[in-house]
Amino acid sequence: MADEAALAAPRPREGGAIGRAAGRLFAPAAVIIVILAIWELAKAANLLPITVPAPSEIAGAFTRSWSDLFYHMVPTVLSAAAGFFLATLVALVLGAVATSWRRTEPSIMKFAIIVDSIPLIALTPILMVWVGNGLASRIVIATIAALFPLVVGVIQGFKAIDRNVSELFHILAASRWQRLAKLAFPSALPYLFSALKIAAPLSVLGALIAEWVSADRGLGIMMTYALFSFDVPLAWLTIVAVCLVATIAYGLVALAERIVIGAPQQTTGGGGGHG
């Protein structure tokens, strides 16, 4: 007993969390600063084409048009977020159906593959005709863009159930719903979060594509305007903004993952937890 207890003592992990977070941020920040500096110098030395502005010019575009930028950012974020949540919901339902009734899985996977292989840029105008060119159609496009990795992730996650634990639920005479809520869903969570992290930036991209085709407000239409008026720094500013929105979306999912599942899982197994 004594030796087992010694093995099991959980190590304190809280100490210096902020310090380590700062340490983790420092290296990537330094890399970005170095790249920006090289970029700026290259532009000053006329080494870059006219279509590539210096970082300072992009910053200039921001000070010039930041209110425009945020004005256009709102609907993009809204339709991306709505599409992301809708896609998650659809994927969870499809995944639950595919796992509860195994025979439906191939059909559901084929459906997901077909939906994913639709060229969004061509579908969008057609959809606009059907649903109208309002927010609804942009949400649908964002949903479609994010759907596939989520369906794959949910189905894979629901299948990642330990065989013995599955037998245990059988012995306990668990209902279909109990099996789903207490076994399949928690087992699927790590897979689900991996899929969500892929899907979050995709839904931003979907919203953007929809706005390229038709919108009166949104980062996509701002980008198109900037390109047509050959305002190169502004076009780059919108690109940076989209990158930031997508990165923040990813970051929020990663944060949610840490809150729900906790720190990255240690592998289970004899004696784990030390080292």
Binding site: L7, P10, I171, L172, A173, L189, T268, G270, G271, G272
Partner: protein, 268 residues
């Protein structure tokens, strides 16, 4: 009373569209409240036999009864506790929540069933209620899994090589504790093992199985007094029983040792 009876039970599996006989005409009786061991080489179907009793699998022919009723009924009444070879805990749940899982699924305790906290004490894990499985050693995880199997006060406790992955010393300790728990709860226990000493030490009857297809060779009655303790491992009686099981497992291979191999053996 919870006597378990296997009456001419056979089980076939479909492998590559070929029917393979895993268990061939096994008839066994596990008396109510007894501790029995199933021992045999891999492929003798001992785990399959346990899964037939637990109603995870259905027999191809023959009949199984638990207290006179089919296993399906016993399962739905939550009369069956099962301990797997690996602890098979839910890694996202704490020790307490893992032990409470059967209660959640059954919708509350069965009769005056034991409280999860008491079961955790019974398996010697007081103070670890809020630990996650990953923080526990293999032996401790298996204790949690035993506590979980007892939560609904099962009349039948099925153990599928529960300590197979543990080292010898931990295993001996766990076996002693398991016997203590079994005597306190009065369940009918069936232990699948591939260790001769463990089978003799734990059981009232050791059923020896042979492989391909899985079939019963013989049953050896163990008349060592209870409670069992480690000193018994060194007695002549214990050795005699071990040798009896060994003889049943290896048949005339033992007798051939040292003697000239028979010609037909040379072909392997």
């Amino acid at each position: 009373m919870t006597e378990i009876i296997l009456d001419h039970v056979s089980k076939d599996f479909e492998i590559d569209r070929r029917s393979v006989r895993a268990i061939d005409d096994v008839s066994l009786t596990f008396p109510s409240g007894s501790f029995s061991a199933l021992i045999g080489p891999s492929g003798c179907g001992k785990s399959t036999l346990l899964r037939l009793v637990a109603d995870i699998l259905g027999p191809t022919s023959g009949a199984i009864t638990i207290g006179g009723k089919p296993p399906g009924e016993a399962r739905l009444r939550h009369d069956i506790g099962f301990v797997f070879q690996d602890a098979s805990l839910l890694p996202w749940r704490t020790v307490l929540d893992n032990v409470s899982l059967p209660l959640e699924i059954a919708g509350g305790p069965i009769g005056d069933g034991p409280r999860p906290e008491n079961l955790i004490r019974l398996v010697g894990l007081s103070g670890f209620e809020n630990a996650k499985p990953a923080q526990l050693s293999g032996g401790m995880q298996q204790r949690v899994s035993i506590a979980r199997a007892l939560t609904l006060r099962p009349k039948v406790l099925l153990l599928d090589e529960p300590f197979g992955a543990l080292d010898e010393i931990t295993r001996q300790r766990m076996n002693l504790e398991l016997l203590r728990i079994w005597q306190e709860t009065g369940t009918t226990a069936i232990l699948v093992t591939h260790t001769i000493g463990e089978a003799v030490f734990m059981a009232d009857q050791v059923h020896v199985l042979a492989a391909h297809p899985g079939r019963l060779v013989t049953t050896i009655e163990v008349d060592l007094p209870r409670p069992r303790h480690l000193a018994m491992l060194q007695t002549a009686e214990f050795n005699r029983l071990e040798n009896a099981v060994r003889a049943a497992l290896f048949g005339d291979e033992l007798a051939d040792d040292g003697a000239a191999a028979r010609p037909e053996r040379a072909h392997g």
